[in-house]
């Protein structure tokens, strides 16, 4: 694809956009995964949220 004499500006702009959007997506996925892991670990240790304890009552 020939983008003319200013091709470098166009490719750098698209490349940087892809890089930053990719970073945002990766960060979003990893943060949620990390917090889920921490929550599961705490629950395995027998710690229950107050609201979760309330729900388990008959």
């Amino acid at each position: 694809m020939d983008l003319g004499q200013h091709a470098a500006f166009i490719w750098v702009a698209y490349g940087a956009t892809a890089l930053i959007i990719g970073g945002l997506v990766a960060r979003a996925v990893m943060e949620e995964r990390q917090q889920k892991k921490a929550l599961i670990k705490l629950e395995a240790q027998g710690v229950r949220r107050r609201s979760a304890r309330g729900q388990s009552r008959p």
Binding site: M1, G4, F9, R27, E31, E32, Q35, L42
Partner: protein
């Protein structure tokens, strides 16, 4: 009253987690499809008669700039919800949106600069539009720093909400800067009275990319809100475990 009750149910963090768990995969598919179509159209579009091939930067620059201000508007609305109703989800929404808004503002500045060099002959000028967007970027950084500096979430939320509302004055300045002052930046050409001045061959890819960016923003924001809700649960449970351990030690 019934409406408020319904709203309270919808804005309940547990309900939010359940609902978004079902919505997020569909939103990811829609976002990917919009980007595939948008990118295809962006490179299939004809070059502009004045700007040539560099007009393709518009398809990624303009949606980033729109999202930069839209995200700040969302933070301001969430801040009102946080300050008046003290709703925890409003707080979570504002905090989760700030880093995403900062990234899109940075992208708008970077791609604008890369578009400016071949068109204007310079990467940067201190004109009203560019400077007010740079101020927006610093406002985002300020909000992120404030959230990080204050440990207690409700206190941090209140301080950040006040800063966000004060900073909101910058949003109309960004929008109207091209009308109020002489700037190198072009005036509004899509959202203006009298209709768009862009040819449909270039407007269609721009609008599809704007939809793709908006859909991506929604996905990112919901994901970040979910992570923040989980983080607060983890913090609360960690505190609980510490206090339980202290009680047990005292009983011994």
């Amino acid at each position: 009253m019934k409406l408020m009750g319904k709203f309270a149910t919808l804005a309940n963090p547990s309900f939010f987690m359940g609902l978004t768990d079902r919505v997020l995969p569909w939103l990811a598919v829609v976002t990917a499809a919009l980007f595939a179509v948008g990118l295809y159209l962006s490179f299939a579009a004809p070059p502009d008669y004045q700007q040539g091939e560099t007009v393709r930067i518009m398809f990624i620059h303009v949606p980033a700039a729109w999202l930069a201000t839209m995200c700040y508007t969302l933070i301001a609305i969430s801040s009102v919800g946080s300050l008046i109703w003290r709703h925890p989800l409003a707080d979570v929404s504002a905090k989760a949106a700030a880093p995403i808004g900062a990234a899109f503002t940075f992208l708008a500045l970077l791609t604008g600069s890369l578009w400016g060099k071949p068109m204007w002959g310079t990467y940067w000028v201190w004109d009203a539009r560019l400077t007010s967007v740079l101020v927006l970027f610093f406002l985002y950084l300020g909000l992120i720093a404030l959230w990080d500096a204050i440990e207690e979430p409700s206190r941090a939320g209140r301080a950040a909400a006040i800063l966000a509302l004060v900073g909101f004055v910058n949003v109309p300045i960004i929008k109207f800067s091209v009308d109020w002052w002489n700037t190198l930046h072009q005036p509004a050409s899509v959202m203006r009275l009298g209709g768009s001045t862009i040819h449909p061959a270039l407007l269609t890819p721009l609008l599809v990319m704007a939809l793709a960016y908006t859909s991506l923003f929604l996905w990112l924001h919901i994901k970040a809100m979910r992570a923040e809700i989980l983080r607060r649960r983890v913090d609360a449970m960690t505190m609980l475990r510490v206090s339980q351990a202290a009680e047990l030690k005292a009983a011994e």
